[in-house]
């Protein structure tokens, strides 16, 4: 697959995945671009066209992990241990909500939940492909999807009902390393 076709086919999905990892659009752009540069350099080694998608997503994830390794430990606000009844969230409410608000809610989740959730909601990846991209066992992917959806609904339920703000785990994204 040539680079132009790969960019045309996958850049939107890769950007969304990068956004779920990095938490901000600038870093997501850079991660996406870097993944495609790797593809331009090494992609010709991929003999099976069907593997291009998984290769690109896996490469982007590894790039992100490389960034993280060079960062100091991310400070976190601790998550409130208070467990509330899961708020009922009607599909109609979501349908009439601004997409930006839904994304904000997703980006508030811990990375271990938001990365598989983003891949799930892109609907281009089976749970097995998600496990491959994130190098995580299938069972773990399933439980993170389940738990991640619960967390997302809690955050959305709180945001949409405009009730008292609750504390959630929010990684403080510091500046990306320059090298």
């Amino acid at each position: 697959m040539d680079i132009e076709l790969a960019v045309e086919t996958y850049h939107e999905g890769l950007f969304a995945f990068a956004l779920s990892l990095a938490g901000n659009r600038d870093d997501a752009c850079e991660l996406t671009q870097e993944a495609f540069c790797r593809f331009a350099s090494k992609g010709h080694q991929l003999r099976e066209r069907a593997k291009v998608k998984t290769w690109l997503f896996t490469t982007l994830y590894r790039l992100f992990l490389g960034w993280k390794r060079r960062e100091s430990r991310l400070p976190h606000f601790e998550m409130s241990a208070v467990e509330h009844e899961l708020p009922h969230l009607a599909p109609e409410v979501v349908e009439s909500t601004d997409a930006g608000l839904i994304m904000e809610a997703l980006l508030q989740l811990e990375e271990r939940y938001r990365a598989p959730l983003m891949l799930f909601y892109l609907e281009d990846h089976s749970y097995e492909e998600i496990a491959l991209i994130l190098d995580t066992p299938v069972g773990t992917v399933m439980s993170r999807l389940s738990r991640g959806k619960e967390q997302l609904r809690r955050v959305l339920g709180t945001d949409l009902s405009d009730s008292v703000p609750r504390t959630v785990s929010i990684p403080i994204h510091r500046q990306r390393p320059t090298s």
């Binding site: 850049h11 950007f15 996406t32 671009q33 540069c37 839904i102 994304m103 799930f120 909601y121």
Partner: protein
């Protein structure tokens, strides 16, 4: 499978139906069909997942300039010629070494044992790449599909008439092995592997030998020129129901 396990599995099922044919979801979907409460939960989940998915994809649209920026940047990157990649040289050397080793150490059929067969087949069942190549509820259709692939397969009498989930062909040390998965009346799944008797040195007798491999209980027996291996994850009792 209980209610909670079914929910966990179905949480990973994409709402658009892309996973409908995945055998891992079959049991949970079947469970949901029999349980009105779970069916209602699943319908709500799918509607909500669809709604959230649309919004997430809309909210994660890349900036307009990204595509042209990527293309511009990638034009400055030249593909690395293969002969400059140290990995190729190392891989070639490793391959030659492994081939030599494989020729020296490859077991002959007479050296292969039933226990190896049991372990290898149990590993296939738990592999995360596990799949069935042909999904069908009909044992006759499964037999026809295997016959089309020149896989010699005779249905054991006690499994005749049992509904199937599907089938596939796997290879074990150069021997073709057929796999047919059956759905029993109690909801349990059993997996039947069949291989030529000549594939192993110590083929079992005609009376089923019960054993275990990984988390699977197994029963193995020979009939004519075939060795049969039946595996179930819910214990020997399930196997005895059909033997």
């Amino acid at each position: 499978m209980n209610h909670q396990e079914a929910k966990l599995i179905l949480s990973a099922c994409r709402p658009g139906g892309a996973d409908a044919a995945d055998p891992r979801f079959q049991e949970a979907l079947e469970f949901a069909r029999r349980d009105p409460e779970l069916a209602a939960w699943l319908a709500r989940e799918r509607r909500l997942d669809t709604a959230i998915g649309i919004k997430v994809r809309e909210g994660a649209q890349p900036p307009a300039h990204l595509k042209s920026a990527i293309l511009a940047a990638s034009r400055m990157v030249r593909p690395m010629p293969w002969y400059r990649q140290p990995a190729w040289v190392a891989a070639a050397a490793l391959l030659v070494g492994l081939l030599a080793l494989a020729v020296l150490l490859a077991p002959k059929s007479s050296e292969l044992e039933l226990a190896q067969f049991q372990r290898a087949m149990a590993e296939i069942l738990v592999s995360k790449e596990f799949r069935l190549d042909h999904m069908t509820p009909s044992a006759t259709e499964a037999q026809r599909w295997l016959a089309d692939r020149r896989v010699d397969f005779v249905m054991p009498a006690k499994l005749e008439g049992q509904p199937t989930m599907g089938c596939r062909v796997v290879e074990w040390h150069g021997h073709q092995v057929s796999l047919v998965c059956f759905k029993l009346d109690g909801g349990e799944t059993v997996h039947l592997f069949t291989v030529a008797r000549e594939a192993m040195g110590n083929a079992p007798t005609e009376h089923p030998q019960f054993s275990s491999a990984g988390r699977y209980s197994t029963a193995a027996w020979s009939r004519d020129d075939k060795v049969y291996l039946l595996a179930a994850s819910r214990g020997e009792a399930v196997l005895k129901k059909v033997l």
